[in-house]
């Protein structure tokens, strides 16, 4: 069972601001979902290979060629804040 504190930790990891009321609701719902998920956790899966992809195939590789052209103007028309060709964000301190 997740505590409220854990909900807040997850929310921060996921960059989601949660109000106190929201966090309470989320906690109840997520614990409900995890309880449902527990049925799966009880199954013995020793020796079963995890399945990441529906098809058992390997990656195709792309030839190393430049195929893209500059579309900055188009892409920047979609951006919340740009200046001098840069996307702007609040000042970051490293």
């Amino acid at each position: 069972m997740l505590s409220l504190e854990e909900i807040h930790r997850l929310a921060r990891l996921a960059r989601l601001e949660l109000s106190v009321a929201e966090a309470d609701d989320m906690r109840a719902q997520i614990n409900g979902i995890l309880a449902m998920v527990d049925e799966m956790r009880a199954v013995d899966t020793t020796g079963v290979a995890p399945m990441s992809h529906p098809q058992e195939v390997t990656q195709r590789l792309r030839e190393d060629r430049v195929t893209e052209t500059d579309q900055r103007e188009l892409f920047h028309s979609l951006a919340p804040e740009v200046e001098d060709g840069l996307y702007l964000v609040p000042k970051v301190i490293e």
Binding site: A14, E17, D25, I33, T45, M51, P90
Partner: protein
């Protein structure tokens, strides 16, 4: 005209009995008339649609145009279409105008089909009732108190109400088949890897697959013929030739082995759904098919496994919506962290947030093995169940949903119950198999029931012919809600 099949529309367009501009105008008018009742579309852009229709008319006039040329198709609002707003049902993409075309859109454009509009959907395809759209719930044309199912609820409602000749959809855990079942239309989710995911906004990448909703298996065959095919831009799109979906429709079901999983007809299945399903299977038997019992012993684990895997992938897929390069950004914020947290809190709805948090949890340090890895192992068991079952049968049949469409608001407070309702559709996604739902009758309150047909990998042509055989013998698929006749 609104009841015409794609074949019929195509014939009339190519015979120049009607123009694409007229057809598009006709459906745009129907969309307008139904918009407040159904809320099936998020974006309609008459000018764009009519401009494309004019181009289609010119192509048809030149001769040799594709059979879908000039036919307006509605697209689920998670397919990027250049110049079209593509919202994915979310506030975070409310004003996002796609700068490029999805592969699926490219294929329809190349065929000369016309974009009729972008259909409503659960936010980021997360939901089974279409109540999770930022743009409001979609209503079921059969009874506007009822949900249309989800997440391709807008597409399903549009086809069911005949305000669109056909529509695209996507199916991650049943998002084509369940709304098809709830609205009495035919829906096909192809094998994972059959249709390129390029340009399709991702929910859970290893489960998402594009498909279609239409009035019949024959129409679906025409849709799949356009959508299927190799695309190098999607590494998970398989390099294999498509089959002749339309030409193979009439092969019949004599000698077909239909597997019916013994786990399907349990207490979870409502009686009013079970009866039409059994009747449909009986109809197949009368046409010469053999019915065999098969078993999917791990099917009850599919919903739990899915609610680990899908949220995990989603939590990562949705990290890109951060208000930096496109999409919503909070109007007021302090530092960078605050901008992220406020932007995402405002931009995502409750269901998306819930899944992001679950996904974050199951991937986080110390929980990965117990949840994510475990779910991947369960996924393997479920896929094996199917390969065992397909040794004894050619297709598997059963319900697409355990109940008929329920009323809007009826299940919204109990998300776990709503998740569990997807028990018939989710195993197919986990295995990566193709699945369909076709109308096979009505249940309580005259709400439609869908028969699910599951095929082995890459067997869409067979499945379509199986569905077609049923639709040649019955008329459930031609029924439409009286309010929209």
């Amino acid at each position: 005209m609104h009841n015409a099949t794609l074949t019929e529309l195509s014939r009339r367009l190519h015979a120049k009995e009607v123009s694409s501009v007229e057809v598009a105008g006709y459906f745009l008018e129907r969309i307008r008339a139904a918009s407040t009742q159904l809320n099936a579309f998020i974006t309609v852009d008459e000018e764009k649609t009519l401009a494309q229709a004019r181009v289609a008319d010119a192509r048809i006039a030149q001769g040799g145009a594709h059979r879908l040329a000039g036919i307006p198709i509605a697209h689920k609002d998670l397919f990027c279409a250049k110049g079209w707003r593509t919202t994915c049902g979310s506030k975070i993409l409310e004003n996002f105008v796609a700068p490029y075309d999805a592969h699926v859109i490219e294929r329809f454009n190349a065929a000369g089909a016309v974009i009729l509009g972008k259909t409503n959907m659960d936010e980021f395809a997360m939901g089974s009732s279409n109540e999770n759209s930022y743009f409001g719930p979609v209503k079921n044309p059969w009874d506007t108190r009822a949900v249309p199912g989800g997440s391709s609820g807008g597409s399903a409602a549009a086809v069911a109400s005949r305000i669109a000749p056909a529509a695209t959809g996507t199916d991650t855990g049943g998002s084509i088949r369940q709304p098809a079942s709830f609205t009495g239309v035919s829906g096909l989710r192809p094998t994972y890897g059959r249709v390129s995911r390029y340009g399709m906004v991702a929910f859970a990448s290893s489960l998402d697959q594009a498909g279609a909703l239409a009035k019949s298996a024959e129409d679906l065959a025409m849709m799949l013929d356009v959508m299927a095919g190799f695309d190098a831009r999607d590494s998970t799109c398989m390099e294999r030739p498509k089959d002749d979906y339309v030409g193979g429709l009439a092969r019949g079901v004599k000698g077909l082995r239909i597997g019916v999983p013994r786990e399907y007809f349990s207490k979870d299945l409502a009686r009013d759904v079970g009866e039409p399903i059994l009747a449909a299977i009986d109809a197949y038997r009368r046409q010469g098919a053999a019915v065999v019992e098969v078993s999917l012993p791990n099917q009850h684990l599919s919903v739990p496994a899915y609610y680990v895997l899908a949220p995990a992938e989603a939590s990562s897929n949705l990290a890109r919506y951060d208000g930096v390069r496109y999409g919503h950004r909070a109007a007021e914020y302090g530092d960078l962290l605050d901008m992220y947290c406020k932007t995402r809190a405002q931009g995502f709805g409750a269901e998306a947030k819930r899944r992001i948090l679950i996904g974050t949890y199951v991937l986080s340090h110390g929980y990965y093995d117990a949840y994510y890895l475990k779910a991947q192992q369960i996924r393997r068991l479920i896929a094996r169940d199917f390969s065992e079952a397909f040794k004894a049968c050619d297709v598997i049949m059963g319900p697409a949903a355990p109940c008929v469409a329920y009323d809007i608001g009826a299940k919204i407070t109990d998300c776990v119950q709503m998740y569990l309702d997807d028990l018939y559709t989710i195993p197919i996604n986990l295995a990566g198999l193709p699945g369909m739902s076709i109308p096979c009758g009505f249940g309580d309150r005259a709400r439609p029931v869908g028969l699910q047909i599951v095929g082995n990998y890459w067997s869409e042509a067979l499945m379509l012919s199986v569905a077609h055989a049923y639709q040649q013998a019955t008329d459930w698929h031609t029924r439409m809600p009286a309010a929209f006749a």
